[in-house]
Amino acid sequence: MAARVAQLLKRSLPPLIVLGVVIAGWYALAYSLDNNFASGDGSALLVPPPHQLFVGLNDATLDRITQATWISLSTAFVGFLLAIAIGVTLGVAMSFSRSLESALWPWLIAIQVTPIIVLTPIIIRVVGASFGARLTVTVLIAFFPITSNTLFGVRSVSSGLHDVFTLARATRWQRLIRLQLPAASPTIFAGLRVSAGLAVIGAIVGDFFFTRGTPGLGRLITFFFQDTRSGPMFVTALIAAGIGLGFFLLVSLLRRLLVSPWDQP
C-alpha cells in the first residue's frame, strides 16, 4: 500500500509542479499587465488572477455557460463517435481494395490539409445552421487520424498470423474481426487519442460561425471577449480545455482496459 502511494506521488508530482509554475506565471502576468486593475474595484479587466475567476459569474451567466457546454460537449461526443465509425469503416474498406485506396486517399488528404475554419461556412451554407452542420465539421476534422491508423494497423498484421487464418480457411469477415481489427487496435487507439482532441476543437471552432440559436462554447467565448468579461471568458476556456482533456482521458481509459493488458513490449 505504501509502495503504491509512493508510486502515485512519484507519477503525480511532476505535473503538479508544472501546474504550480503555470499558476505562478498566471498571477505574475495578471499583476504585471498595465491597466489590468484600472477599474478601481479590484476586479481584473484583461486577465483575472486565478482567485478572481468566478467573480461576476451570476446565475444568468452560469446558465449560458451550462447550455453552451452541453451543446459543445454533445457535438464533440456524437461527432467523435461518428468519426470513429466513418474512420474505421474507411480504413478497413481501403485495406481491402488498393483501387479504393488510390481513389480516396488524395481526397482524404485534401480534406485533412484544408483548414476547418475555411470549410465551416461552406458546410453551414450546404447543410444549414443545424446540429447536423456542427457534427459535419466535427467529423471532418476528426476522422482522418482514425482512418489512416486503421489502414496502417490492418495492413501491418504479420504474415505468420495471416497464414494461421489461411490454413483455418477463415472467411474475410472472420479474418477481419478475429485477426486484423484486434491486431490493429493499438494503432487505432493511437489515432483515437489524436482524434479525441480534434473532435473537441471541431465542435468549438465550428461554433464560431453559428450566428443563430443557443451558442456553444466557441461563440460564447467571443461574446465574453467582446463584452470584456474576462472572468467568464477564462472559465469558458477552461471548460473547453477540460472537455478536451476528458475525451483524451476517456480514450486512454478504454485503451488501458482493452489493449494495455496484452500489448506489452
Binding site: S158, V164, L167, A168, P182, D263, Q264
Partner: protein, 243 residues
C-alpha cells in the same frame, strides 16, 4: 522413397520459382499416415517453400500435390500467437468448439495448464513454441507441418520439447513433415530424413531411421545414433561441394 503406410500427402514433379529464380526443381515426396519425416538441407534450398506448398499456402508453378483437404496443422518458425488472447484462448483458436477435452489434455501434456491465464508476452520462448504446437494439434490434424519449430530454443528446452512432441505423436497418431537444420533433431524425431540439395532444391537422399519408439535421451549418446547423424552430415557436406 518407399512408404509402407497409406499415403496422406504426395508431391511429384514440383517446380517453383520466385521472380524468375528457381527455388524448387522436380521435387517428389510422400508422407505416410502416422509417419514423421524430416527435411534437412543447406540454407536457402527451398525447404520452407516446400513446406508451404505441402500446406497449400503457396501454389507450385508446376507439379502435382495431393494433401488432406482439411485437418492440416502448421507450426511456424515464429510461434505466431495472437497477443490479445490468453494462453487458453490461443490453444482453443483452431479447436472445434465442442472439443474441450483435447485442449485440456494438450495443455496438460505440454505443461501449460498452470499458465493458461497468462498473456503470450508473459511466456518464455519455449513455452510460446509449445503453445504454438498445442494450438496446431488442438485442431486434431491428420497432417502436421513444422518449419524449424525448435530452432530458436536452447538445447535443454529443445530436447525436452522433442520428448513432448514424441509423446503427442504417439497419443494422437498424426503424420508430420518438418524442416530442421539440426541433424540430431531430425534423427531423434523422424522415421525418415530427406536431404535436399542446394537451390534449386531437390530431394537427393533419403535415410531411414531404424530406431524403435519410444525413443529416450539415451539414444542421443549411442554409437548408432552418432553414425547415422554422421552419414547425413557427410551427405550434406558432399552436396555443398566439400571434400
Amino acid at each position: 522413397m518407399a512408404v509402407t503406410a497409406p499415403t496422406i500427402a504426395r508431391l511429384s514433379g514440383v517446380h517453383h520459382h520466385f521472380d524468375g529464380a528457381v527455388v524448387l526443381s522436380d521435387v517428389a515426396l510422400q508422407l505416410g499416415a502416422g509417419e514423421v519425416v524430416a527435411i534437412v538441407g543447406p540454407s536457402g534450398c527451398g525447404k520452407t517453400t516446400l513446406l508451404r506448398i505441402v500446406a497449400g499456402l503457396i501454389s507450385p508453378a508446376r507439379g502435382d500435390v495431393t494433401r488432406p483437404e482439411r485437418e492440416i496443422g502448421f507450426v511456424f518458425q515464429e510461434p505466431a500467437l495472437l497477443p490479445w488472447r490468453r494462453v487458453e484462448a490461443n490453444a482453443r483458436l483452431l479447436a472445434a468448439s465442442d472439443d474441450d477435452g483435447i485442449v485440456e489434455q494438450l495443455l496438460s501434456v505440454s505443461g501449460l495448464t498452470e499458465h493458461r491465464r497468462k498473456w503470450p508476452y508473459q511466456l518464455s520462448g519455449g513455452m510460446k513454441m509449445r503453445l504454438s504446437l498445442v494450438r496446431a494439434l488442438a485442431a486434431r490434424p491428420r497432417m502436421l507441418l513444422m518449419d524449424e519449430p525448435f530452432g530458436a530454443l536452447d538445447s535443454i528446452t529443445r530436447n525436452r520439447l522433442h520428448d513432448e512432441f514424441a509423446t503427442l505423436h504417439k497419443s494422437r497418431g498424426f503424420s508430420a513433415l518438418f524442416v530442421t537444420h539440426a541433424i540430431d533433431e531430425a534423427v531423434y524425431l523422424a522415421d525418415r530424413v530427406l536431404v535436399m540439395s542446394e537451390a534449386p532444391g531437390r530431394i537427393v537422399r533419403e535415410f531411414t531411421v531404424p530406431f524403435a519408439r519410444p525413443r529416450t535421451s539415451a539414444l542421443r549418446y549411442s554409437p548408432e545414433f552418432a553414425s547415422l547423424c554422421g552419414a547425413i552430415a557427410e551427405s550434406l557436406h558432399e552436396l555443398a561441394g566439400g571434400a
